[in-house]
Subunit: 761 residues, 2 copies
């Protein structure tokens, strides 16, 4: 009877699988590709190591010896407004405000060989091609476009570590695949430190590319196979100088020469193609070695069935998307599932199938008992993305914390990551927010490793006196304005991070640490100028800096924000902030002013990374520092304003169009904000179990937890007008304080919001 | 009684050990450091991976945008005629005619920190120091010098993979160790591709250096420990540009910052020192990783006893030197043991203690069952050095053949090494002489691997049509002069190499290969112009090139030699060459002319790599192509002339002084020629078991073979005047044909030369 039982189980699991809805159809990777979203439209799988996507331009970092502002536009390599595609490269950031990557650009062409990309205005001048959005399909895990100049249809899909290309050629004896080893995002003359290529046989090429970009010391290895042998191949070397050229006389190294190396070269592979013949490429990446890339390729995509790989990619997305089933308008489903998609693009897997990866110390390590991840945009993502992972992806977030602690172990500085990618830290932005991510994972029981060791890493990082004014901060309780251009935002963010450490220490009964960091957690008060009611830079002598503009974001002591937004950045102690700002009423009225003020024009020009539409009154949603601010009305006794503001932000800042994002998606932080807020709750202070309630925009959402339980959000009487919460029940019991605990969600159950068109004061 | 037996054995082996003579005292590494020898005076162990030696200058490759001829002088980093030392670096070629290496220059200084090397004319302008040869000691495995400007005594020794420095400082609060990561031999702006350094703690630093020099893609990893903690440290970065400098604001990266990377920077470490305080450094190299370097360091030199490491180094030399015990004049003992020393510097060990190394394919490999070597200067060393190894170092030569075959396996080109070092082939010089080395090792029973596989690798290499005219050579039997500037030397060298393949094939009963390559072995005839009696470039139409100068070395179809020297390059078929040159008498008289002619001055200016003294008549000993020529008189029926010429060359070309070498030592080839010839025999055609007899200059030599047997050379009635051999006995039996077989030597025994002052015609 065992047989019968087993087959019974099989049927059940099969039914469960089929119960999954097709949610991939709601994902529009194209959202955010216009203006400031900085997302990419190409193919990737959840948290995949490969992001195979079209680049519409590869702007050099400098123009006539000066910084070229255009470079910023191309953080993701693709701009919706562009008319030509240069090729398809294998690594892309999603939504960042700084650029890098764009490795291994591939372009199929036919006709006389062209090895220069040509210009956007005259695509015929090079290998690039015109395209139109009519002939473009961008889905989760799949991208397709017609390359008009070459009459070639390009299709892309991926597994975790392998990009798969399928190019449908016309009949031609001059079909080519260009492998551009010079191209890259954030490109400049010296970015390509070294490139090495081995043509192993007529279908296999391996090598590596070493760059000095945003990641200072970065090497990506590859293995590339063709579905049919090339007829011939070659290279053109653009190095200005290669001192020892003695051996160039021994061989013709430009044609059919299999051992290539240099700083700047492009390769090509020639084919004859029949009409509509498909030439496919599998292109695997590895952080470790050519052999690792080849092993990844063989293990992940052994065959040549493009449709099967595409299906696997889309199935893997569908599995992730089905973790939340929402009932909402069709447009909002598009917004929601695209947000879910964007939230699950980063961090990215950073290890071979055998667990090996290159560490921050540039040594090869093996991830034992966890999957190693990279691309940690922590100043952005500690706020809502990692808390979202603690809800939806606890196993992965556990791995991510393990990855951050491995980074710490490998750090000669003995610091947790700040903004790390590909075995490098670029130390971008402020704070030491790994601490928040770790504390949230520890407090919520997600991190399964040695929690005391994790706490020690946080403490060591937070005591790193030589980093960004920490020494002053430790000695004085603030950073003197003379010593740092971002003295106030640093103090505010350190204070919050310190509170996170204190919470963790409390949980682990490490009282000395709890006390030390609880004290530090109050340091934000040192920058609060009660005479004006705003956070303000303080000089070494203890006086506040005289020249000061609460609206400007430049030179005022803040990073990516002004005092108006940053003055509310005390997510861990809102009650005390309210008190210092003159009590609940004054505080709420100050929030009102923020959301309704009329900003002078110059302010818009000033603000980084966001469109004009990314600002509501003086509230900047396109940057992160104020992401929690709308929820602070709850503490000021006016939760209905939280509800109204949240619904307004959801509506104004997220649209199902290419230009639908009001600012950089920032590796999923903007998307995570959207999902939390549209489900009616938000983690104002990660490191706490508590969520603040807002106003759900969905009618219903069912969250399927990794522990097998489900948590349902229901909004009774939901509509665009009914933005005000009349009543909240958790499993039938009234919730009075507009909070929800993470542990309550984990138990499974249901929260019911009763909505109405009038504020319930 | 077991105890007694054991202790008896111990005494015996102890006696055997003590029976070794102190031969290290005859080694003068300084020989060849002046003029063209290109040897280095520093410390190394036999075939060691580290060559720790002073650099007197590091000349940039270019001067005012043009090639700087001076760069050639500094192939070994040290010129005896220089007055200052820039520092001590860890890798050096010995005797090459092209340069590279010079990695990780260390200089101890005191007083105000100087991070520029300064100039030779004004050493006080930088960290370099004046020195004098009076205060310099250069021994096998040990080097010492007083650095006058800093009042510091520097001592160097090494293990296989670790360089050990001992610096005796004066009392100073401003003592420094400079680690110059920009300096290098064959230096130019772009040579430093990338450098990465990690200051792990206050006594340990690790990192790597990646260069694009003569080796195109080369990375050397290091681990460096100090015997006492440094007080502080820092760097100066000389990169013209580093695009992303955002993080420079986060830290002061110039001081006490432990994670460094860039193209060009120098580091310093600060100490306070008492009078005569010794600060020691252990500096380990690895071809694989920082961890590998650290493991090498810990395993090879766990302690800090400089004298013990020095003793171990010198003991290891003494063990090798005692393999031949010669009785000869004191000066000739110096010449002989210095030659033995120089012969055992290269090839160099190229793997970590765990057997891992980086292969030609840039992948990490593990040497299974052999030690992996690099630095194969095969155009030079196939002639006498590898045959010398087959006699004295068969186990190591077996490993070297294994290393060459591993190179072949890793080669995308499917070629055996031409001139390979550090996981690269620079394809320098002509021929495919790996084939000769392999054939000689197979024929002499030294190579213990799969001989058929070895033969296949030789055949595949020799059939590589796209390499240096091989296709033409295969089709036409020669290389048309229109197609190559070195068409004749290539044809001659290929023909000899092909003969080697044929000999190996014959031994292995591979008859098709034997026939194919026996035929090719006669191709030298196609370049012999019988109308003038010289080798001469031939055009594609089969006619000889009209404009032709038999004396010039440039543009005449030869590499590093003229037709006069190269026309005798048929080492494998001298009888046939003699016939084509008009019989024995004409041939001998042509040899006479070669040795006695008066060259026009312009010829000296023309000839590369050698001093004027490196030429005898028209015979060029300082370059290799004619190294066998003096022995050809044997075949022409005038062996007494071989005897006389050999003794003359020994005397004129090798002197126990800094300027004692008439040309580049060429990784030991010149030295191997010296040792063979001074013992009275020489391998005219490696790939054959046969040696040609010359005239020994020693009174007696005892060769201790690895098989436990000894072979003795005795010269009765030896003197400077008695250069003519009257009679030769092998184990008491007369030798009539002036040859000696390798197998006869292996059996052990004695060859006795009876010498006299008159030629025995």
């Amino acid at each position: 009877m065992i047989r019968k039982t087993l087959s019974g189980l099989l049927i059940l699991s099969s039914v469960a699988a089929h119960a999954q809805q097709n949610l991939v159809k709601y994902v529009r990777p194209i959202i955010g590709t216009e203006k400031m979203g900085h997302t990419f439209p190409g193919a990737t799988v959840p948290f995949g190591a490969v992001q195979l996507s079209p680049d519409t331009d590869t702007i050099p970092y400098e123009k006539n010896g000066k910084y070229n502002g255009e470079v910023y536009k191309y953080c993701a390599g693709y701009k919706y407004e562009d008319k030509t595609i240069v090729g398809f490269s294998h690594t892309h950031f999603s939504g960042t405000g700084h650029s890098d990557l764009g490795d291994f650009l591939i372009m199929p062409t036919q006709g006389p060989l062209q090895l220069n990309p040509g210009t956007a205005n005259d695509p015929g001048s090079g290998f690039r091609s015109a395209f139109s959005h009519q002939n473009e399909t961008s889905q989760a895990g799949y991208y397709k476009v017609k390359l008009d100049d070459h009459n070639i249809t390009a299709e892309l899909t991926t597994s975790q570590r392998v990009g798969m290309h399928q190019y449908t050629f016309p009949k031609s004896d001059e079909s080519h695949i260009i492998l551009d080893l010079m191209s890259g995002i954030y490109n400049y003359d010296d970015k390509n430190v070294w490139t090495y290529v081995r043509v192993v046989n007529d279908t296999l090429v391996t090598g590596y590319r070493q760059t000095n970009g945003w990641a200072r010391t970065r090497t990506v290895y590859f293995a590339m196979t063709f579905s049919k042998p090339f007829k011939s191949y070659g290279q053109k070397n653009y190095d200005t100088r290669q001192v020892y050229r003695g051996f160039w006389g021994k061989f013709d190294q430009t044609k059919n020469f299999p051992e290539l190396a240099g700083k700047r070269f492009r390769m090509y592979f020639d084919f004859s193609t029949a009409a509509n013949e498909k030439v496919k490429i599998k292109f695997a990446l590895s952080p470790v070695s050519q052999e690792g890339a080849l092993r990844n390729l063989q293990q992940e995509v052994p065959g040549w069935d493009f449709e099967a790989v595409k299906k696997q990619a889309q199935d893997s997305w569908n599995k992730e998307l089905n973790k939340i089933v929402v009932n909402t308008s069709e447009n909002d489903k598009i917004n929601f599932y695209t947000a879910l998609y964007h939230a699950f693009v980063n961090p990215t897997l950073y290890m071979d199938t055998d667990g090996q990866y290159k560490g921050l110390d540039q040594n090869v390590h093996k991830a034992e008992g966890f999957n190693n991840y990279t691309t940690f945009s922590l100043w952005d993502t500690y706020r809502a993305l990692h808390p979202f992972f603690n809800l939806l992806q606890p196993a992965r977030n556990n791995d991510m914390v393990h990855s951050m602690l491995a980074h710490y172990d490998q750090s000669a500085l003995k610091m947790l990551p700040i903004w790390s990618h590909y075995a490098n830290d670029n130390w971008c932005m402020s704070g030491y927010h790994s601490v928040s991510v770790i504390a949230d994972a520890v407090i919520k029981g997600v991190y399964k490793g040695d929690v005391n060791k994790a706490l020690d890493a946080c403490v060591t990082t937070a005591r790193h006196r030589s980093y960004e004014g920490i020494g002053y901060y430790m000695d004085l309780g603030y950073i003197p304005a003379e010593k740092s251009g971002v003295s106030v935002s640093n103090t505010l963010e350190y204070a919050y991070d310190d509170w996170c450490i204190a919470q963790m220490a409390k949980r682990l009964n490490r009282n000395d640490i709890y006390e030390e960091f609880s004290k530090r957690a109050g340091n934000w008060k040192n920058n609060f100028d009660s005479s004006i009611g705003f956070m303000r830079p303080k000089l070494a002598d203890g006086s506040f800096k005289k020249e000061f503009d609460i609206l400007s974001t430049h030179g005022q002591g803040f990073i990516e924000g002004n005092s108006w937004n940053y003055s509310f950045f005390v997510p861990h102690q809102p009650e005390q902030l309210i008190e210092m700002m003159g009590g609940k009423k004054n505080f709420a009225s100050k929030l009102d002013t923020l959301f309704t003020m009329h900003l002078p024009d110059k302010f818009f020009a000033d603000t980084e990374d966001i469109t004009r539409e990314g600002i509501i009154g003086g509230y900047v949603h396109g940057n992160e520092p104020a992401h929690h601010v709308a929820y602070l009305y709850n503490w000021a006794g006016q939760p209905w304003k939280t509800q109204q503001r949240i619904r307004m932000i959801l509506k104004m800042q997220y649209k199902p169009t290419a230009d639908g994002l009001g600012g950089n998606d920032d590796c999923g932080q903007m998307s995570a904000w959207y999902m939390f807020s549209s489900m009616g709750f938000y983690p104002v202070a990660p490191g706490s179990e508590q969520y603040a309630l807002g106003s759900p925009s969905v009618k219903n959402a069912v969250i399927k937890l990794e522990n097998g339980k489900s948590f349902e959000v229901e909004a009774i009487n939901q509509s665009d007008k009914n933005v005000y919460v009349q009543k909240v029940l958790l499993n039938g019991k009234a919730v009075e304080n507009f909070t929800l605990n993470h542990s309550d969600i984990l138990k499974g159950g249901k929260i019911t919001f009763y909505m109405g068109s009038k504020a319930r004061k």
